[in-house]
């Protein structure tokens, strides 16, 4: 069964991703305790600068946001850890496939089976997207579970909303890696190219704040105003579909 094969080929990546991301999110919950102890010390030694544009202002805003639990979690977990590591794991899940099989030799066996390349890619993609969904939705859910242990509260709805934001952008990077994997057989080149593109997106975000890919991923608009970044979802979905379509077409033309 193709599903089983796709699972066997990606299970360790998936399980590591799930475990690591969950541990990070959980870790962030406990970090809050440490911060709470530090914060009074901070206030008594430094006069916080005014909030506003410029580096000083950004730092001031960051400190202010992280004073309460919800803000702290958003800043540490969703804005940083889960977004950064999420991109990495999404890309890792998207690597592999027929071309890497070709390097190992079993591609000819797979290609001799009575299935089209589109079907092969389809199964791999569906499995990967399901895995992306899992690693986006599950780790955030640890937060409402652990929060009471440190005397805090976190809404499950918030976890789910942020999970969704992580998923859409994660799926985009997964599709990017999938597409790159139909061009390169090794795991390094897709990883490298995806890394450069991610850096590019980060730079773009600073220069043109409207095209903030990682703002969508961290669910910034949801955190600040309670509205999900619907435009962001649509755009990433369209881009991801285009990449997956290109992956299918590239694979179709490939000679083995």
């Amino acid at each position: 069964m193709l599903w089983q094969k796709a699972w066997l080929e990606t299970r360790w990546r998936f399980i590591s991703a799930l475990v690591i991301l969950t541990l990070m999110a959980g870790g962030n919950v406990y970090d809050y305790l440490a911060t709470q102890r530090l914060l009074p010390m901070l206030n008594s030694t430094i006069t916080p600068p005014a909030q506003g544009p410029g580096l000083a202002g950004v730092i001031a805003e960051a400190i202010e946001i992280q004073k309460d639990f919800r803000g702290f979690i958003w800043f540490q977990a969703f804005k940083q850890n889960l977004t950064q590591m999420g991109v990495l794991f999404a890309v890792l899940l998207g690597c592999g496939g027929l071309l890497s099989e070709a390097k190992k030799g079993s591609a000819l066996f797979t290609l001799s089976l009575p299935i089209t390349r589109k079907q092969l890619l389809g199964v791999r993609t569906a499995t990967g997207l399901a895995q992306c969904f899992a690693i986006a939705m599950i780790p955030p859910l640890i937060i409402p579970v652990l929060a009471p242990a440190i005397g805090q509260q976190f809404s499950v709805i918030d976890s789910l909303a942020h999970g969704l934001c992580l998923f859409f952008v994660g799926a985009l990077f997964f599709s990017l890696a999938s597409f790159l994997s139909t061009m390169f057989g090794d795991i390094w080149r897709p990883l490298l190219v995806a890394f450069f593109i991610a850096c590019g997106a980060a730079i773009l975000q600073v220069v043109v704040p409207e095209l903030g890919l990682f703002r969508v991923m961290s669910g910034e608009s949801y955190f600040r105003t309670g509205t999900l970044p619907w435009m962001g979802f649509v755009t990433t979905a369209v881009l991801a579909s285009a990449l997956l379509y290109s992956a299918a077409e590239t694979l179709e033309r490939r000679d083995f």
Partner: protein
């Protein structure tokens, strides 16, 4: 029984990889029900031809048909592969699966899977069911690959060097399995090989490819009857002649003896008599010699 239908057909097949012409006009006609040996030197284009037939690579020019379906049509080709068994020359399978898992993985793709043959070959080949593919020797891996191909209920088997790396006893097991299969089922076997003796032994059709082109193809018995060597002894020195008959491959003069190698015996017979030698001695040519002559003349 050999039928009129063609299990494999290629017409003027060309394939370019970058700036290398791997195939430069391959013509193949393998009748259904036959066992066809595919001979050629390394790099002659055997594996490329097979890849094009199975839809793994796309032809640059020309036609290729597998069980009547065009190889270039992805959907049709995928469908027809339900009736084709393939063993690659590297015999690579999924490293991380065990033999048992490999069989369980392959089985559902083929509605005509033969559970009875699976039992037979599991025992005959003495397969270690719970060992992982990556821990198997090449010979055992070949046997697993063969089982996976033979149990599909396929109408056509395409085998790239099926006995390479096997010791003579295992190789004979494989040949026996193939021959038994063709006798029992309506099946065609198309196999490439460097072992000319094997082709001699079990094939009834042969195709020789060199530098991307078919140089010789057809029923093996025909070939054996028409490809002959004749030795003419003359009373005096053998004459220097330019032979007009088509198909003359090589002429050798030594003293009073003239040796002629021809692809087509019949037209040469009359011409040879007209030279008025003292004796005429026709003898058959082994497939090995036919092969060596066919690929050498291309140089």
């Amino acid at each position: 029984m050999v039928s009129d239908r063609l299990a494999i057909e290629t017409v003027d097949l060309w394939k370019r990889y970058g700036d290398v012409e791997a195939l430069r006009g391959v013509d193949l006609q393998v009748p259904a029900g036959s066992i066809c040996g595919f001979l050629g030197r390394n790099g002659a284009g055997k594996t490329t031809t097979i890849k094009v037939l199975l839809g793994m690579a796309r032809a640059t020019r020309g036609e290729a048909r597998l069980l009547g379906q065009p190889a270039g049509d992805a959907a049709a080709n995928a469908d027809i592969r339900r009736r084709v068994g393939f063993v690659s020359d590297e015999k690579d399978l999924y490293d991380y699966m065990t033999v048992r898992e490999m069989i369980a993985f392959t089985r559902p793709f083929f509605p005509r899977w033969r559970a009875d043959l699976e039992q037979t070959y599991r025992q005959k080949f003495e397969l270690p069911l719970d060992r992982e593919i990556k821990d198997l020797s090449r010979g055992t891996r070949t046997k697993v690959a063969l089982l996976l191909a033979l149990c599909r209920g396929a109408d056509l088997l395409i085998l790239d060097e099926p006995t390479a790396g096997l010791d003579p006893a295992m190789a004979e097991d494989v040949l026996q399995a193939l021959v038994g299969h063709v006798a029992g089922e309506e099946m065609t076997v198309f196999f490439s090989s460097h072992q000319i003796a094997e082709v001699d032994q079990i094939a009834d059709h042969v195709a020789i490819i060199d530098a991307g082109r078919t140089v010789l193809a057809g029923p093996l018995d025909d070939l054996r009857e028409r490809y002959q060597r004749v030795q003419l002894v003359f009373a005096g020195d053998a004459p220097t002649v330019t032979l007009l008959s088509p198909g003359v491959v090589r002429v050798n003069r030594q003293g009073r003896v003239l040796t002629i190698l021809t692809r087509d015996r019949d037209p040469l017979m009359a011409e040879v008599r007209s030279l008025a030698p003292v004796s005429i001695d026709w003898s058959p040519v082994t497939l090995k010699d036919i092969f060596l002559e066919s690929v050498r003349t291309e140089d």
